[in-house]
């Protein structure tokens, strides 16, 4: 069975400070993991993906995530938040690329 838990439904940071969005997964197989972002009134967009290559994955817009098998985590980070980062972020796990299991989402608020 596969599932994803996003530990925070809302995260609020100040512009210029680090961002940490937490994700834990459960998978019976070697998983592929993704982070998607959804800006208001826009479609979901892939930020980054882990598919059993390097454990530290770099994505678009300065985001990165580290796959930690021992902790079953795939947390999303960014060194310095920008106002344009305000959005909802989804952690996703997949085994066979036909079933993608989405977390419940984390809404990121960035304060000026």
């Amino acid at each position: 069975a596969q599932s994803v838990t996003q530990l925070d439904s809302h995260v609020s940071v100040s512009e210029g400070t680090p961002v940490l969005l937490r994700c834990n997964y459960s998978s019976s197989y070697s998983p592929s993991l993704f982070w998607y972002v959804q800006h208001p009134n826009k479609g979901l967009q892939l930020l980054l993906k882990y598919t059993s290559a390097a454990t530290l994955v770099k994505g678009i817009n300065g985001f990165e995530a580290e796959f930690k098998k021992s902790e079953t985590s795939f947390h999303l980070t960014k060194p310095s938040a920008h106002m344009s980062d305000a959005a909802e972020y989804f952690c996703v796990v997949s085994h066979n690329f036909n079933k993608f299991y989405f977390g419940s989402g984390t809404k990121l608020n960035v304060k000026p």
Binding site: Y36, L44, T51, K99, G105
Partner: protein, 113 residues
Amino acid sequence: DVKVTQSSRYLVKRTGEKVFLECVQDMDHENMFWYRQDPGLGLRLIYFSYDVKMKEKGDIPEGYSVSREKKERFSLILESASTNQTSMYLCASRGEGNNEKLFFGSGTQLSVL
């Protein structure tokens, strides 16, 4: 870039009506998906299709059916809409092989009154 187009951004229907949600992609993708998105629940898979006329149930297929008569078009059908089907519906497509990236449409916000 891949474009996934959903025919309606907002839709209001009455209980018991038959509802069609249409999705078209322009990149010859084999795989297409229908999700519903509800606050606090993330996205849940309703149905997916890996080829023309082929379909598989997702995690919440009850009350829904799908049609894929042409490769580029994947339709979601609510045979008899109910108020608990009020939701945001998202269509996605994916290419073949190890192309894991999902391309999403902008969504259809369906309200069933």
